[in-house]
């Protein structure tokens, strides 16, 4: 059996509390997990959950107060973009400096320099002081250096958020390739769909503790449930209880699908017996990982009038073929009540829709298609001049 890349046992980090309080704050409490070789693992949790502290312990920036982490192989830690960059130095000088700080020898950087510049799309700007760079260029070069570190274990904190969307996609694809070549990745992001895209497994942290360790979709579902119960934010007034079923199954936090499959969503809603019948509009929204709306269907757009009657109602939306490209999406329903005396605006839980498929397409939709080829040798043989 291959050894683990990281084996963490009982990691704990305490900081002294406010002066005079005499107390200690536990940023990370008794966290244990294993990371396998070539495994891509997400780490999710709210701000202050202890994610960054855990990464700092694993990358040896700080020592744990208790517990220990065994790390097998070189760690490349990207806890910020452009580690060690100095504004007065050029991109070229900073590439060598940052590379060395991250653990590359001068010779490593020499051999990978062209690849780094190409990946970062720097062009001639590489010989300009980085203080003149845009934040996007700065982030691209910073990530490109770290991406070419070729560590056994790559630790990435929320650093992709600074780049633009095509670059984020490129970074994710690059990390995906690294895992295929045996690099283990520990990835922290608030972009849950990016975590779902890259990782097979995820840890959820809350209040310094590890509260979930398992398949990525289940982890995201767990995290979202915890968010919904703890943040106390009312999502609009809901005079009705709604239960969603997808393809006949009670809606779990994650649903798997394939391109061009059908999708049926039922929303069972109990309306109080003494309440008046209410006209409403049902919306189905599907969003991509970068927040673009991929699908938005409205019940009134093709003239369907929906009315919420007292008692049990079932609202249904059926999509015969959903031509979404493979990837992860958020799906939810929005109920809008049209009664001016009692307006309703209510969203269901967001469900992770994981559309399976081998290839990661740039395209959001993947219609049924085929390519063809025809040739006419005789037509091409005709000499136009004669």
């Amino acid at each position: 059996m291959a050894p683990n890349a990281i084996s963490a046992v009982g990691l704990t980090k305490r900081y002294r509390g406010a002066p005079g309080s005499g107390g200690w704050i536990e940023a990370v409490s008794d966290v244990s997990f294993d990371l396998g070789p070539g495994e891509a693992m997400g780490l999710i949790g709210r701000n202050g959950a202890g994610k960054s502290t855990l990464l700092r312990i694993l990358s040896r920036v700080t020592r744990p107060s208790a517990g220990h982490a065994d790390v097998y192989g070189r760690i490349g830690a990207l806890l910020e973009v452009g580690t060690g960059f100095h504004p007065e130095l050029t991109g070229r000088e900073n590439t060598y400096l940052s590379g060395a700080i991250l653990g590359m020898s001068r010779r490593d950087v020499d051999t990978r320099f062209d690849a780094i510049v190409a990946f970062a799309e720097m062009g001639p700007f590489i010989d300009m002081p980085v203080k003149h760079y845009s934040s996007g260029m700065y982030a691209r070069l910073g990530f490109a250096v770290a991406a070419h570190l070729l560590p056994a274990i790559l630790i990435v904190d929320e650093v992709l958020a600074v780049g633009d969307l095509p670059f984020q996609a490129k970074c994710l694809a690059h990390m995906h390739r690294l895992t295929e070549n045996g690099t283990s990745v520990l990835f922290v992001s608030h972009n849950l769909l990016a975590v779902a895209d890259l990782c097979t497994r995820a840890l959820v942290m809350n209040g310094g503790r590890l509260v979930f360790d398992g398949p990525v979709n289940a982890a995201i579902a767990d995290y979202r449930r915890a968010l919904a119960t703890s943040d106390g934010v009312a999502r609009g007034t809901a005079p009705t209880e709604g239960r969603m079923t997808i393809n006949g199954e009670p809606a779990a936090a994650a649903v798997e699908s394939r391109p061009n499959q059908s999708l049926r969503i039922d929303l069972a809603a109990d309306h109080p017996a003494d309440a008046p019948a209410t006209a409403l509009i049902l919306n189905l929204v599907i969003e991509t990982s970068d927040g673009r709306t991929a699908v938005h269907l409205r019940s009134d757009s093709n003239g369907t009038a929906l009315v919420l009657e007292p008692g049990r109602n079932v609202l249904t939306v059926v999509i015969d073929e959903l031509p979404l490209a493979p990837g992860n999406y958020w799906l939810w329903l929005r109920v809008v009540g049209l009664d001016p005396r009692q307006p309703i605006m209510w969203d269901t839980e967001r469900v992770l829709l994981a559309v399976g498929g081998d290839q990661a397409f740039e395209s959001v939709v993947l219609p049924r298609h085929h390519f063809a080829h025809a040739a006419d040798r005789a037509a091409a043989a005709v000499d136009p001049d004669g």
Binding site: S59, V61, T62, H86, L97, A100, G103, S105
Partner: protein, 258 residues
């Protein structure tokens, strides 16, 4: 173990050193001219005030050369301590974001002072010839003096760097302490002026034979005595040992306190 880690990080050391040197004079109009001005101007002032006005003894050399040779060694020490000692505070972000052998940062920052030393040394030699003198054969000992001075300064700088990560007081105290050290060393005045009764105490300052030895090598002034060298060697070794222990202890949880 830790020495091996340092050795394996020599590329990073070289790059950090290069960075320190490059950024020092970027966006300055005079650039390297500053390196020449820094020791020369105080040496001229001292030569005028103490040499011409007060007519203090200078071991038979022109007072300008006498003072400048003192400032070259003292400057190497002070500049190294200063740069190394403030390195963690200046680059705290680096320490909290990434692991690397912590000692590298003060060592590289402090070593950048060698550039200033080489330039001011060249200025001194030029002035020696300009004033119609010539360095003695003792000039061969200059690399040794420089090496001992910078080793001493780097050790002190390491300790101050780690301590000032905990308490900024240490960084604030450095310029003050260096000022005191200037007056406690034979930089602007000659050893002849130090009363014989306090010489043993005075010679515990490890900079004393370094400055005297350098001056003797360059200008042919009297060399430091054997007992002076021995006393300074003992205190110097003690300072280095204590400083390294302090660094090892105080640099353990750097990222948490910086």
């Amino acid at each position: 173990m830790r020495l091996r880690e340092l050795w394996e990080s020599r590329d990073l050391f070289a790059l950090l050193l290069g960075r320190e040197i490059k950024i020092r004079y970027k966006q300055t109009a005079l650039g390297v001219a500053w390196v020449v001005v820094q020791p020369l101007v105080p040496a001229i002032i001292i030569a005028v005030v103490l040499g011409t006005f007060a007519r203090l003894p200078s071991g038979g050399s022109p007072y300008l050369l006498f003072a400048l040779s003192g400032f070259v060694v003292y400057g190497l020490f002070a500049s190294t301590v200063n740069r190394a000692g403030t390195s963690f505070i200046r680059d705290g972000q680096l320490v909290t974001r990434i692991y690397f052998p912590r000692a590298l940062l003060p060592l590289a920052s402090g070593s950048a002072a060698i550039v200033d030393f080489v330039v001011s040394f060249a200025v001194l030699i030029a002035l020696i010839f300009l004033l119609g003198h010539a360095p003695t054969a003792g000039i061969a000992a200059v690399p040794l003096v420089a090496l001992l001075t910078i080793s001493l300064a780097l050790s002190v700088g390491l300790a101050i760097a780690a301590l000032s990560a905990h308490y900024r007081d240490f960084a604030l105290a450095v310029p003050f302490a260096l000022q005191l050290l200037l007056y406690a060393s034979p930089v602007v005045y000659s050893m002849e002026l130090v009363p014989a009764s306090i010489r043993p105490l005075y010679s515990l300052n490890p900079l004393v034979p370094l400055i005297e030895g350098f001056r003797s090598a360059m200008l042919g002034t009297p060399a430091p005595s054997g007992s002076e060298v021995l006393g300074a060697a003992i205190t110097g070794a003690a300072v280095v040992a204590i400083a390294i222990l302090v660094f090892a202890r105080a640099s353990r949880d750097l990222a948490d306190v910086i």
